[in-house]
Symmetry: none
Subunit: 402 residues, 2 copies
């Protein structure tokens, strides 16, 4: 049966029009009990409000009503990929996040340096969040081990987090995690979930045993936990599907990695919102699709910092003026999911969206907010339909069917 991407592949055409997809991570919120207003409703956002008034608004469900998405499905849906069908393992996501070039056959795992007590029970899954420097030093102890002709590459990520990559022949990723996801219990024994993965289960177990020995004197980081063993998937690229020349501007590695997985180029940029927008401006001539990712809103939401999330939204709004002066044919502003400060984490709430183009049909919404977007002309719809809408408004799709 024909799938969404096949359909789009059949009707997409290259054209000089430009699309900007601005993803304000964790944008959606919940009302502050004191004011009855969400973060977005509290923020002073004249530019977003102008886009909302001129454009058409709505609410998206990243995966589906009630489903809280992780970062990968949240973003894949934005790029038009069915987030249930196109799944990415945690290990691969970690590799993407540090620009690690996974080879065909490589098995990647997300690693934590952790603390275990004398009985071998996990007492801190993050080893007191050791510094990235310390993590780098410890990774050097483990990197390059060879077990039964399988080479294990160990790369620091950030703080206690590292990437483990198993490179060898006939390795299958279907093995269980060693990370128990709780303290007070020992790491779990890794087992093969399919007969073909028994070699991999054995290698991973031996690696963990060797790591324990090597780290014995490095309290609090005296053990490792591994999870999310996975292989790099092969997705059709955005170039193939949409005939776009797409580029990503994101200060966090994971989002750059996700963008690469769907065939985007990735630009070097700074860590501030201003720098990200500047990078877009400087490279505006060279691409026709720009994925611009703002991380701060999600972090503030996760920290439960309502006011900081408000400030970051206002900062994005200020930076938007420069983007709007470039007059992209289509501007989409939304988030990959909600991260209400009151909830202190990703949530399932639908996310407000603006679609702004010469060809959109304006609605009566004149401010960008959760409560106003309910009445938007786009209605409530799955995030994976954002791309067809953006492509249509950029006049990059021909008619479907005779």
């Amino acid at each position: 049966m024909m799938d969404n991407l096949d359909l789009l592949k059949g009707i997409s055409n290259p054209s000089p029009t430009k699309i900007v997809l601005l993803v304000i991570d964790g944008l959606g919120g919940l009302p502050n009990p004191k004011t009855g207003k969400t973060e977005l409703e509290t923020a002073n956002t004249p530019n977003l409000d102008r886009l909302a008034a001129e454009g058409t608004c709505g609410l998206i469900d990243p995966v589906g009503p009630g489903i809280t998405p992780g970062s990968a499905p949240g973003h894949l849906a934005q790029f038009g990929y069915d987030p249930v069908r196109f799944n990415i393992g945690r290990g691969v996501l970690e590799a993407l996040g540090i620009d690690f070039d996974l080879q065909p056959g490589d098995i990647a795992a997300r690693g934590n340096f952790c603390t275990v007590d004398e009985a071998g029970r996990v007492t801190d899954r993050r080893a007191g969040r050791i510094s990235t420097e310390k993590c780098t030093e410890l990774c050097r102890l483990l990197d390059g081990l060879v077990i039964e002709r399988v080479k294990i590459l160990v790369c620091p990520v950030r703080e206690h987090r590292f990437l483990g990559v198993f490179r060898g022949k006939k390795l299958a990723p279907e093995i269980s995690d060693s990370d128990p996801q709780q303290v007070g219990v020992p790491p779990r024994t890794i087992t093969a979930l399919r007969p073909e993965a028994s070699k991999m289960a054995s290698i991973a177990s031996q690696f963990i045993a060797q790591a324990k020995t090597a780290l014995a004197k490095h309290y609090p980081a005296n053990m490792v936990l591994l999870r999310g063993f996975s292989q790099r998937p092969h997705f059709p690229t955005m170039g193939e599907v949409y005939k776009l020349k797409p580029v990503a501007i994101a200060s966090y590695p994971m989002y750059r990695g996700l963008a690469k997985l769907v065939g985007m180029e990735v630009l070097e940029t700074g860590t501030s919102i201003e720098e990200e927008f500047l990078t877009l401006k400087q490279n505006y001539a060279h691409y026709d699709f720009f994925f611009l990712h703002i991380k701060g809103t999600d972090s503030a939401g996760e920290d439960g910092d309502f006011d900081r999330k408000v400030r970051i939204i206002e900062e994005v709004d200020s930076a938007l003026a420069g983007l709007m002066s470039l007059e992209p044919d289509v501007i989409v502003v939304t988030g990959d999911h909600s991260t209400p400060a009151l909830f202190k984490g990703h949530s399932w709430h639908p996310v407000p969206i603006i679609l702004h183009s010469k060809w959109c049909r304006p609605d009566r919404v004149s401010e960008f907010s959760e409560s106003a977007c309910i009445f938007g002309g786009l209605g409530r719809f799955p995030a994976m339909q954002i791309m067809p809408l953006a492509m249509a408004n950029a006049l990059k799709l021909t008619k479907f069917g005779a």
Copy 2:
């Protein structure tokens, strides 16, 4: 997996209630920059507004958000057929459009008379849009050729367009187009896309060679281009699926052809809106489902004639009074897609819809317009769900499941 039609087939029942589906082709529009109002919002439509106020409203996506439908998918969706799954080839659509009675096994192709230069390169894909008279004359030169016991029927359509039908044994339609869809290159060589189609590829190639010879002295129409080779598909009929006795009233052949494809009877009617409504009234006793198709709105939209589209909508509104006096159990008013006069073509914008019946749950919408329908009780939904809604409101569906 159970499909929509299977589900409906299992719960549909014949009953004396009557459904009218009024399709105002290309109904949806975009606001006139001078007034901020769409064609439908500009038109004075007391009857449509009354239906909207008494009924329930919404917006439909014919194929999906962002997807601009051709006429075939736009209509199949209205009749409840998944427009992605139930595909109709271009050649078949052309045959439907001129009431050509395709036989089982016939392969139909859309043909263009075109111009080629001395080197055989296409210089005009439409041969300067020759007159329909000239087209008819040229078709006579080619009609009735027999190649390896395959008879080729060639019928004029309009201007440079013609229908080619290949009638013979063991012909398969899976061959490539000869139409290069661009100028400056020669027509493409036709190739079989499946081994079973090699005979058909050979016959089509020989036909094109003979046509070239026959047309050599008929510059600018000195060559043919063929595309969209296809066979008449077999769809479950509306009688089978819905237990309806359905009838179509449409002045344009293509829509009559689409209606026949899903098992509707087709009534003779005039070309004016008044005549079409009169045909419905005269035949009201004999059917329980009426598909009434209004073409003028789409044509006006394609021509970019905002005011003409407004006038035609007003004409439909006037004619509606007579239909309403018949008191059909269910009246659905919508379009198969949007054709905004500002856009001068089919577009992806969702189409307003009214569902009027004794049993619908009224909403707060009191006018029929794009901006009001956003707030309708039906919300925004795929067009292929219109039929289940109409059937339910006509009390023609029993409970699903125990």
